[in-house]
Symmetry: C3
Subunit: 131 residues, 3 copies
Amino acid sequence: MEKIAIKTKDRVELVDITGPVRALAGKSPVENGVCVLFCPHTTAGLTINENADPAVKKDMIAAFNKLIPPSGGYTHSEGNSDSHIKSSIFGPSLSIIIENRQLMLGTWQGIYFCESDGPRSRELWVRFIKG
Amino acid sequence: MEKIAIKTKDRVELVDITGPVRALAGKSPVENGVCVLFCPHTTAGLTINENADPAVKKDMIAAFNKLIPPSGGYTHSEGNSDSHIKSSIFGPSLSIIIENRQLMLGTWQGIYFCESDGPRSRELWVRFIKG
Amino acid sequence: MEKIAIKTKDRVELVDITGPVRALAGKSPVENGVCVLFCPHTTAGLTINENADPAVKKDMIAAFNKLIPPSGGYTHSEGNSDSHIKSSIFGPSLSIIIENRQLMLGTWQGIYFCESDGPRSRELWVRFIKG
């Protein structure tokens, strides 16, 4: 298992992690197979989405904050129930196909670490599996 | 990696792709393992749900359109921010167990390509991994 | 493929299944790799979230019931459209990294079976893949 360290800057933020994941794939012993990404935090998740116009990230964060507002009459005493709920909607794991040590992503796709209770120091865990 | 071509007909649509994925599994060199499905688009996703009553698909599309309306005061200039957000809620990847070259699905489960900005020509990417 | 039997007690419930999955990992022939979890039901899903304060589960269930209410003017005649929709938001599959036959989870993470139309007798399907 390999780890990528991530520093987030806002409470709710989508951090593009495509570059560091691509770099790991490039030096992995697995030439063809699958890359499993795992977020070991309960107030963050993972997604894949548009890597071009940053307005998409902004709209996604606004939509998530509207659906799951930070103050929603929650009972959890730490006051970050919305962060836990957002994380479960994004999900904690992703599987990406690997060919010739390349991440197989669509033209407009980037991989995002979905911070929902930052800013914090976070980790992404990565494992390559032979196909 | 194998590819399945998909033609979608509506802006928001759930296309049953169980048949073509099952056919690929039947002729895969991997007898037992996992089938990884990946959607290489940023305005479409994947899910598994009811394969019997088509009313479920209709209700799911209505619920997603209500939660993430097409016009929601978004900033992304292409006007399809709702499509990007819906895709991240469904998610881009699925893992299905394979036994004796058969997709292990529950009785009522079908695999769906979740179009959120059609109609378009789309692809599904598939990789089989030995268990 | 291995199966874990689950008895749910409420209509909407998050059942902690970390213990039985960990036990399977401990006796799996796969020492290092990935554990794929699959929910074979169309009115239940899987997630990973906080394993400490039970208030998080309560808040998550309340938020899902608010976003996708049981009575929402649905057309599906069985009256459980909300259960199908909730399941697709959680998702049917998860991938967890395995090292030395241990589930690699973050400190505060537990694995949850997300019942959305209980109480019922359910199954979780599990497959280990060599890394």
